[in-house]
């Protein structure tokens, strides 16, 4: 019994990190109405940025946030501004611009292969970091310390993004644009600037997720793909565009992945995750925590 509890706790911790990786995906979709296929690759770029920041400076992994989050914000901001915006303008009158989705797929391939070209296929990890392999012992339970840090970071990041969207001038402009682009521009909101900022924030959260992962996860050029697919499932489970839903959706996946192997072959967990994904699509397409709303 105690093992199931231990697995559940570790599952919640890992799941919240999954949720954090999906946070930017759900935010970008909510505002741009575009599924960002490059999101996993942005996470991968963030992991490399964190890796080099930690290796070169030798600081505690979480200190790298100071560098990685703003760098990733700028990366996302200008990626949207330079690469995606022109396509958006060309398809201005389309509500869900398909060509933008194709462009994000292109960005995914370019980033992954560019990384492969520059850093090679080697699996990297940060050997001597203070969080590596650390366990917190509570009675007979062992809780992963780096995942606990990740959990706290995920909750704080989600809360911060939520606060930003609710309480700031730009946050309100982002919400207004996500609800009605044309009406928002009649309020004097430059929708393309809002897209830049939303994409920047989404990318920055991917960078934050990357920092939580590097203390215990391998870094390699195609690492993003693993989180990409999970991210899509998470945002559908949680409800597209819902910040809290992303974290909770992630936790559900984390729990399934950690508890199910107690009762069956571990490979079945994938089947359960995808099964749940399909059931949610059939029964509640707006997601478990999403608002029923015509995007």
């Amino acid at each position: 019994m105690i093992y199931i509890l231990e697995d559940a706790i570790n599952g919640v911790l890992m799941g919240s990190i999954y949720g954090l990786t999906a946070l930017g995906l759900t935010l970008i979709f909510g505002v741009l109405k575009v599924i960002n296929f490059a999101h996993g690759s942005l996470l991968m770029v963030g992991m490399y940025a964190a890796y080099w920041a930690i290796i070169l400076t030798g600081v505690h992994p979480y200190v790298a946030l100071i560098i990685v989050a703003p760098v990733m914000y700028l990366f996302g901001y200008y990626l949207q501004d330079i690469v995606i915006k022109p396509i958006f303008k060309a398809e201005k009158d389309v509500r869900e611009p398909i060509t933008v989705i194709i462009v994000t797929t292109g960005v995914w391939y370019i980033l992954d292969n560019l990384t492969l070209l520059i850093f090679g296929p080697t699996y990297r990890n940060i050997q001597d970091n203070p969080l590596k392999g650390k366990m917190l012992e509570i009675g007979e339970m062992f809780i992963s310390v780096p995942k606990l840090w990740g959990f706290v970071t995920a909750v704080v990041t989600a809360a911060a993004v939520y606060w930003f969207l609710q309480k700031t001038r730009m946050g309100r402009a982002i919400r207004a644009t996500s609800l009605d682009r044309e009406a928002a521009s009649l309020m004097g909101i430059n929708q393309f600037k809002v897209y830049n900022v939303a994409f920047g924030i989404g990318t920055a959260t991917a960078g934050i997720a990357a920092v939580t992962l590097v203390p215990f996860y391998n870094i390699f050029p195609s690492v993003g793909v693993l989180f990409d697919i999970k991210g899509f499932i998470i945002v559908v489970l949680g409800g597209l565009g819902s910040i809290g839903g992303a974290i909770l959706g992630g936790i559900i996946i984390g729990l399934i992945e950690s508890i199910a192997p107690q009762f069956m072959t571990a490979t079945w967990t994938e089947a359960i995750v995808y099964g749940l994904f399909l059931v949610v699509l059939f029964v509640k397409p707006s997601g478990l925590f999403g608002v029923k709303y015509d995007w």
Binding site: R172, A173, A176, L179, D180, A183, A184, S185, L186, Y293
Partner: protein
């Protein structure tokens, strides 16, 4: 020097021409109505003035600045604010957030706290409802939010696109009284309406738009008594 001057504009939806060589003028402090049936081009005209569409030919001047190529956010910055047809509220945001977003432009943003008090004085109902989601309000209240949101932008020229659309007659009266109050406080108002009697009664002047062209123009009183308007729009 006029306040708003639209000069010989042609506007197209794709290949279809909707507005033909249209000109109009509005002086500061006036209340002007544009009336016309469905598909006459009224909404297109407003969208063109507020920069959501651009004319293929012709010019639009506001306070002597050409604005026909400016994007909507720049035009709001100049002081032309449109309350769009069908209200177009941010449905999943609270009434108060809808109003605050209205003051997004840099000219109005710094006054947001005082403007919202003025809006609440004009439309006390909104203060009662400020924390409710906009989608939960009744049609009349939603229209009030839309007008309040427009006022938050500190308009020099407020353009209202069919504010009475889909409302009960008693609410329509309220809406027009509100518009009158706004005009009395010194805001120039351009009103687009199908409700010919109400809108002409509170206006100084009117334009009649038919098939994308100005068919008639003149003081509102004259238009109300015009035999063509009586038969075509009032069914008398």
């Amino acid at each position: 020097m006029s306040f708003l001057e639209v000069k010989n504009i042609d506007v197209y939806y794709g290949d279809v021409q909707v507005i033909f060589d249209l000109s109009l003028e509005i002086a500061e402090g006036e209340v002007v109505s544009i009336i016309g049936g469905n598909g006459a081009g009224k909404s297109t005209l407003l969208k063109t003035i507020s920069g959501l569409m651009h004319p293929a030919k012709g010019e639009i001047f506001f306070e002597d600045t050409a604005i026909q190529t400016a994007p909507p956010e720049k035009i709001v910055e100049c002081g032309i604010v449109q309350v769009p047809e069908g209200r177009r509220l941010f449905t999943l945001m609270s009434v108060k957030d809808n109003l605050i977003v209205g003051a997004y432009n840099s000219r109005a943003d710094q006054y947001a706290n005082t403007t919202i008090e003025d809006v609440y004085t004009l439309l006390p109902r909104l203060q009662e409802r400020e924390s409710q989601l906009a989608m939960t309000l009744s049609g009349g209240e939603q229209q009030m939010v839309a007008i309040g949101r427009g006022l938050m932008a500190k308009p020099k020229l407020l353009m209202l696109d069919e504010p009475s659309l889909g409302l009960a007659p008693i609410l329509i009266k309220d809406i027009f009284q509100t518009v009158r109050k706004i005009a009395d406080q010194g805001t120039t108002v351009l009103l687009v309406e199908q409700d010919v009697i109400h809108s002409l009664r509170l206006s100084d002047r009117g334009y009649v738009l038919e098939h994308g062209r100005i068919a008639m123009e003149g003081p509102a009183k004259d238009l109300l008594n015009d035999p063509h308007i009586k038969t075509a729009y009032l069914g008398l």
